[in-house]
Amino acid sequence: MQAEDPIDELIKREKATEPNPFLASRVMAEIERRSEKKTREIALWQTVALAGSIAAMAFLGISIGNSYNERTTSGMSLNINDGEIENLGYYNITEYEQNDYH
């Protein structure tokens, strides 16, 4: 094959290319760097999650506290209004109408 030799020659030259002698060290350093970055990210997310949980708990506590007060007030007013639940005016309505027509 006429084209074989130039191809072989090119492959031979490319195969002879040596990688950086510190490639293994470079890879190990990169693995360590990414591992540290991941650890930092995890720590950051843990802090964010903790702060978020505390904020959510505080909000929930305030909400529960507020809703408890409102119910107490409504309950009291209901109890107070319970005393006036029977409108005595109904018993006088006939009397009132009679007076109006006459």
Partner: protein
């Protein structure tokens, strides 16, 4: 120390064992990536990413195939992915080897002709269909036996032989009108 022993050490948390494994395989991985990328810098970058991927996914290696077979299949896939992502960049870098591989023995005209011929050969190899190119690079750059190429590519030996034959014919067709006359 065998690959299995090294893998056992690495999964147990011994990073020094990973460095040993990498030193054992960095040259074959680098040569294979060179076959796909034809650029020392790109081949080094991809080799680095391959070993980081290996480190991260070593616990998923089942040991059903040889470690080297698994490593070569990751190498081939990551090289092809790199080429797909950086197609435009690699076109711009096609002149780089001309400056990198200058020879003192040739005059400027000969160097120019040689660079032009190399460029055509690389282009011809890169334009081979993906499977033919994989088989060709593993066979010619790594000199792997057809049996191992078949295992890496998940094909039969006969299919690999056919791919290699077609790759040879395609290169002949593409290059003979311009090279070797």
């Amino acid at each position: 120390m065998s690959d299995e022993q090294l893998i056992g050490e690495i999964t147990a948390g011994n990073d020094a064992a990973f460095k040993t494994l990498m030193e054992k395989y960095q040259l074959p991985v680098f040569r294979t990536t060179m076959g796909f990328l034809h650029s020392k810098e790109d081949a080094e970058d991809v080799t680095q990413e391959i070993f980081i991927r290996i480190y991260q996914s070593l616990n998923t290696f089942q040991g059903e195939s040889e470690f080297s077979t698994w490593l070569y299949s990751i190498t081939v896939n990551m090289s092809l992915n790199f080429l797909r992502r950086n197609r435009r960049k690699s076109m711009l870098q096609s002149l780089e080897p001309f400056f990198a591989l200058r020879s003192e023995e040739k005059n400027p005209l000969e160097e120019l002709e040689s660079a032009e011929r190399d460029k055509r050969i690389r282009k011809a190899i890169d334009s081979l269909p993906e499977k033919q190119r994989m088989a060709f690079i593993l066979s010619r750059y790594e000199e792997l036996p057809q049996k191992q190429i078949a295992a890496i590519m998940n094909r039969t030996e006969g299919a690999v032989e056919q791919l290699l034959q077609r790759a040879k014919e395609n290169l002949q067709k593409k290059l003979n009108p311009t090279i070797g006359k």
